[in-house]
């Protein structure tokens, strides 16, 4: 069998199996991923799913524990050290910050 034919077979097998996976997934309706709605509060500054491209920090794919740790640190700040991000962290409980951090850590940058 020629190389071209082998290549075409492999590619079409991949395409067909992708289609099969997609068809399987079509039948289940699941709840939105945990933390997505909370994390979306961040997208208008940090970009969709944290994929910032216009100046604020990129959060997509960053370590969940690092994001969570930074948010908690920011929440401790007072007075002159309160930037807009520090102010924002006061709106969320620890549990919510964890959900946000975990969601963002799973996004592809």
């Amino acid at each position: 069998m020629s190389t071209t034919r082998l290549w075409v077979r492999a590619l079409s097998a991949t395409v067909l199996s992708l289609a099969a996976i997609s068809a399987q997934a079509q039948t289940t309706v699941s709840a939105p991923p945990a933390g997505r709605l909370l994390a979306s509060n961040c997208f208008q500054c940090h970009g969709y799913n944290g994929r910032s491209s216009k100046g604020f920090e990129i959060l997509a794919g960053e370590s969940a524990s690092e994001i969570y740790g930074e948010l908690r640190e920011m929440r401790q700040k007072t007075g002159k050290d309160v930037g807009i991000m520090e102010a924002h962290t006061h709106g969320y409980t620890d549990a919510q910050l964890k959900l946000i951090a975990t969601y963002l850590s799973k996004q592809t940058p």
């Binding site: 590619l11 997609s22 289940t28 709605l37 100046g55 709106g91």
Partner: protein
Amino acid sequence: MNRRDFFRFTGFGASAALLSRLADAATGQLGFVPTNTGIKGRVVVIGGGMAGATVAKYLRLWGGSGVTVTLVERDAAYTSNILSNLVLNGQRTLTSLQFGYTTLASRYGIKVVRGEAKAIDHVGHKVLLADGTSLPYDRLVVAPGIEFNVIPGLETAAAQAKVPHAWKAGAQTTTLKSQIAAMPSGGTFVMTIPAKPYRCPPGPYERACVVADWLKRNRPGSKVIVLDANSGILAEPENFTHAFDVIHQGVIDYHPGVTINSINASTMTLNTSMGALRANVINAIPSQRAGSILTASGLANAPGQWADVNVLTYQSTVAPGVHIIGDSSATTQPKAGHIANQEAKICADAIVRLLAGLSPDPAPVTNSACYSPITSQTASWLSSRFAYDPATAKMALVAGGLVEAPSISKDNYEEMFKWFNTLMEDSFA
């Protein structure tokens, strides 16, 4: 094997899907519409401003290809109110603040209809457009923004053109800019602020600062007189007090608790609770109410003619299946573009869940962020955060309440553009 044989062998449909996924991956920076959520529904969105554009986009991103979204908008593009005060001092052009709909249409498969909604049949589940078209829906989102109440004396179009509010960015912004430029040195600019709630709490104070800054440098001796119907500065009271009393000392005169009885556009005179004033430029910002499609459809049922909603889903309290977001809704949250973007996401998530037979998220959180230019080089910011309070069924201001920038700075001014650029990308791209 040639290319034609390859497509015939694999099936053109499968290849097209694969190529489309690869293309999506290339633009995946801003998300792609999933094809496998299993969720179906027809959603119509009335209004393509901050709320409407954002809800249309997120309905597709989170609902998937089975959720069809039709966006009805009467203008060819949205003109941002945010940063429009920088048109007044020449730092931005109106064109640079315009955002079209072709990206939303092509990237997310949103059907954009250029037209005007005339009536909502919330029993029959359809929207009637001015051109006679009828749009059936499973869920409707109405985001028409605001209408202005008439200030006595300014009933005619001519009077309104002479005394612009410029509170819906566009032609009036250009008019106001020209009027300011035509002021003599030692001239008087009067701004009137309506009683809350009104669109953009910091907006009028920000405008007073930007105008004062420009007049100081270009029309020395001029004054900016601010007549506020409210009992005090509603947003960033410390920063704006400092801006009025120190940074723009001698230019801005701020008077709280003043009601406007009438304005005479011919004599450029205001009749107010503190007496009569004459001015070269009068920027009268009228009190506001919900967009006219809502009043026409009986959905503006909250005091002041705003639309009462359930803040877990933004459903109208009088019309199930109709969701109302943005400035026209009556909630405890401020009327602001950034908040509209947040409400849109809560609403999109709720609609997607409802279409899937699930309950809405029981604990939504929204945040407000806004940068305000104070001079041509410095800015301040505010932040507030709201969380659902089941006891009151309202969005309650949380921990720390309203926070304002600890200082007015050049750094804030730079950050303002990062915020604006990303916010507009999140809503329109």
